[in-house]
Amino acid sequence: MTTTTATTSTPGRAGRSGVGGAISAAAPPARPSGAGISGRTFTIVTWIVLVVFAVIWLIPSLFALKTSLSENGVAALGANEILSHWYPTLHSYSTLFGAGDIWNWYLASAITGIITTLLTVVFASMAAFALSRMRFRGRTTVMLMILLGIMIPSQVLIVPIFEMLGAANLLNTYWAVIFPQVPAVISVFIFKQFFDGIPRELEEAARIDGAGLWKIYWSVIMPLSRPVIAAVAILTFVGVWNNLLLPLFVLTNPNLMTIPVGLATVQGSFGQRFADIQAGAILAALPLVLLYLVFQRQIVEGVAGTGLKG
C-alpha cells in the first residue's frame, strides 16, 4: 500500500494536534461502498469487544471484594453462595485490623517504600543531572555502566544480595529491603531523558547570577521536573510495596515483614477463613489503588517511559 511508504517520512508530533484535528473536522473520511467493514460498524464492534473484555477483567477484583464483604461461613460454601448473598459485612476487615499483624506490615511497607523512594529519586536524579548537564572524563564509561545495569536482572541476584546483606549484618532490618532497591538504573534513564529536554538557557541565566552546580540542580532543574519526579517516585513506591522476592528472604522476623510477605507466610494459618484471606488481599492492594486513582497520569506516563527507554 502507498500508506506504508508515506509513513516513515512523516515528522512525528508537530502536525498531530493542530492540523490533524482541523482536517478531520472539516472533511469526514470518504467511505466507498464495499470496502470491508465500515467505520460505524467497526465502532459498534469496538464497543462490544471492549466492554466484554473489560467486564472479564473487572470480575476477579470485584469477586474478591464481594468475598471479603461476606461472612467466612458463606465464603466457604463457594462462589454461588457468595454471589447470592447480598448483605455486606465488614467483619473480615475488623478482624484483620484487630489482630495487629496487619498494622506492622503496613508500617514496614510504608517505611521501606518511602525511604527507598526518597533515596532513589534524589540519587538517580543527581546522577542523571551529571550525565545530562556536565561534560567530564569517563562520561562514556558511566553511560555504558548504566546501560549494563539496565540489562542486569536484579531478581537473579537474590542469592549474592542475601549473602552480602548477611555479611554486613543487615538481614532482618528495613535496610535489607531498602538498599538493594535503590539502584534502579531505569530511573536514571527516565530522569536523564527529561533533563535533556530542559533548555540550557535557563541554567546559564542562573550561572550568570553566580549559582553553583548544586544550586542549579536543586533550584533550577528539580523544580522544573515535578512531573517526572512524581512518575519515578510513584513507580518506585509501587515497586517496593509489591516486591515479594527480596523481603521474603531477607526478613524472617514477623514484626518486620512487609505486606506481601506477611500475607504469604500466614496464608496457611487463615485456614477456612476465605473472607478474611480476600480481605487481606484487598488491604494489601488498597493504598496502591488509592495512589492510582490520584496519580493516574503520572503512573501511566511513567510506565510508558520505562518500557520505551528501558
Partner: protein, 330 residues
C-alpha cells in the same frame, strides 16, 4: 530516538536526536570559555557518587560475587566462599533433571503468556484508542491489575480456582463443562492457571506501551488512507500494524525477559507443585540456596539464567539501536 518524541512531558521535544541537541549547547559554552563549565569534572563525580555506590554495592558487586561463588562450594552455614569447586557446580546443574525441568517450565510459562500478552494488549489498545470518550474506564479496567501486589493477585486467583466451589468451577459448570479436580491441582494444567492469572495481572503494562505508541501515529495517515478508500480494517493492517512494529518488537522482548524472571505467582499459587510441575528457574535457585543451603550451586544456576536473560536484553538493545538508526535515516 523515538523516545524523545514519545515522552509527552519533555517541554521542548526536539525532532533531532537527543545527543545532537545536547552537544550543541556544550560546544557553544566551550567556545565561550565559561569557567564554570571547565570546572565540572570533579563536580560531576560528586553527583554520580551516591547512586554509584549503591550501583556498585547492590548491582555490579553481587553480579561479580555470583560469578565467583559459582566456582566454589559456598554454603549458607559457613562464612566465606568455601572450597574451590571448579566447574563442578555447572556440571551438577547440567546433569540435574530438575534443573532442566525448571528451565523447561520457565520456557513453558513464557510460551503461554507472551502471545496473549502481546496480541490482546495490541487489540485492547487499538480499540481503546479509537474511542472518543470513555477511554479512562478501559484504562482502569485493563491497567489497574498491573499495580496490584503479586500476593493479592495470587490470593484472588487461588480462590477463583478453588476446586468444585470456586468461581472458575461455577463458570465451567454454567458452560456445561464438568469442573475437574481444579486447574492448579492437576500437573498438566497448573501452569495454565498461573499463566491465566499472569495475563490478567500484567496485560496493563503492554496495553500502556501500545497506547503510547499509537498516540505517535499522525492522524493524517489514517485520513490519507481513508481518502484512498481503505476500510477501517485495512487502515489497521496497513498503517497501524507496520507503524507499531517497533513497539511490538520491544514489547515481545520485554515480555520474554519478564516471563523468564517469573517467581512470585508460582511461589504463591502452587509453590512449584503439584510435584515439581510448576517449579521455575528462580524457584529452583532460591530452593537450592535457602533450603539446601548450597549457595555455590545456586549461584551456578543463577549465572546460567542470568546469561539467558542478558542475551535477550542485548538483542533488545541491538534491535532498539537498529530501529533508531533506521528512523533517523528516514
Amino acid at each position: 530516538m523515538t523516545s524523545a518524541t514519545t515522552t509527552p512531558n519533555v517541554p521542548s521535544a526536539p525532532n533531532s536526536p537527543a545527543a545532537a541537541s545536547a552537544a550543541a549547547p556544550a560546544r557553544r559554552a566551550g567556545r565561550g570559555g565559561r569557567p564554570s563549565d571547565r570546572g565540572t569534572g570533579p563536580g560531576a563525580w560528586l553527583f554520580l557518587a551516591p547512586f554509584g555506590l549503591f550501583y556498585l554495592a547492590f548491582l555490579l558487586g553481587p553480579t561479580i560475587w555470583m560469578f565467583v561463588a559459582s566456582f566454589f562450594n559456598t554454603s549458607l552455614v559457613h562464612r566465606g566462599l568455601g572450597s574451590f569447586a571448579g566447574l563442578d557446580n555447572y556440571v551438577e546443574m547440567f546433569s540435574r533433571a530438575d534443573f532442566w525441568s525448571s528451565l523447561w517450565h520457565t520456557l513453558q510459562f513464557t510460551l503461554y503468556t507472551v502471545p496473549p500478552l502481546v496480541i490482546l494488549a495490541f487489540v485492547f489498545a487499538v480499540l481503546t484508542n479509537r474511542l472518543q470518550r470513555g477511554q479512562w474506564f478501559f484504562r482502569l479496567a485493563f491497567f489497574l491489575p498491573f499495580i496490584l501486589p503479586s500476593a493479592t493477585i495470587s490470593l484472588i486467583w487461588v480462590f477463583i480456582f478453588t476446586p468444585a466451589t470456586g468461581l472458575f468451577a461455577s463458570v465451567q459448570s454454567l458452560l456445561g463443562f464438568t469442573p475437574g479436580s481444579g486447574i492448579l491441582a492437576d500437573p498438566k494444567s497448573a501452569m495454565v492457571g498461573v499463566a491465566i492469572a499472569t495475563v490478567w495481572w500484567t496485560i496493563g503494562f503492554n496495553f500502556i506501551l501500545y497506547l503510547a505508541g499509537l498516540q505517535d501515529i499522525p492522524r493524517e495517515l489514517y485520513e490519507a488512507a481513508a481518502v484512498d478508500g481503505a476500510s477501517t480494517w485495512q487502515q489497521i493492517r496497513h498503517v497501524t500494524i507496520p507503524l507499531l512494529r517497533r513497539t511490538t518488537t520491544l514489547v515481545i522482548l520485554l515480555q520474554i525477559i519478564a516471563s523468564l524472571k517469573i517467581f512470585d505467582q508460582v511461589y504463591l499459587m502452587t509453590n512449584g507443585g503439584p510435584g515439581i510441575s510448576t517449579q521455575v528457574s528462580l524457584g529452583l535457585i532460591t530452593g537450592t540456596a535457602f533450603t539446601d543451603n548450597r549457595i555455590g550451586a545456586a549461584s551456578a544456576a543463577s549465572v546460567l539464567l542470568f546469561i539467558i536473560i542478558v542475551a535477550i536484553a542485548v538483542i533488545r538493545e541491538i534491535v532498539e539501536r537498529v530501529a533508531a538508526r533506521r528512523d533517523q535515516e528516514a
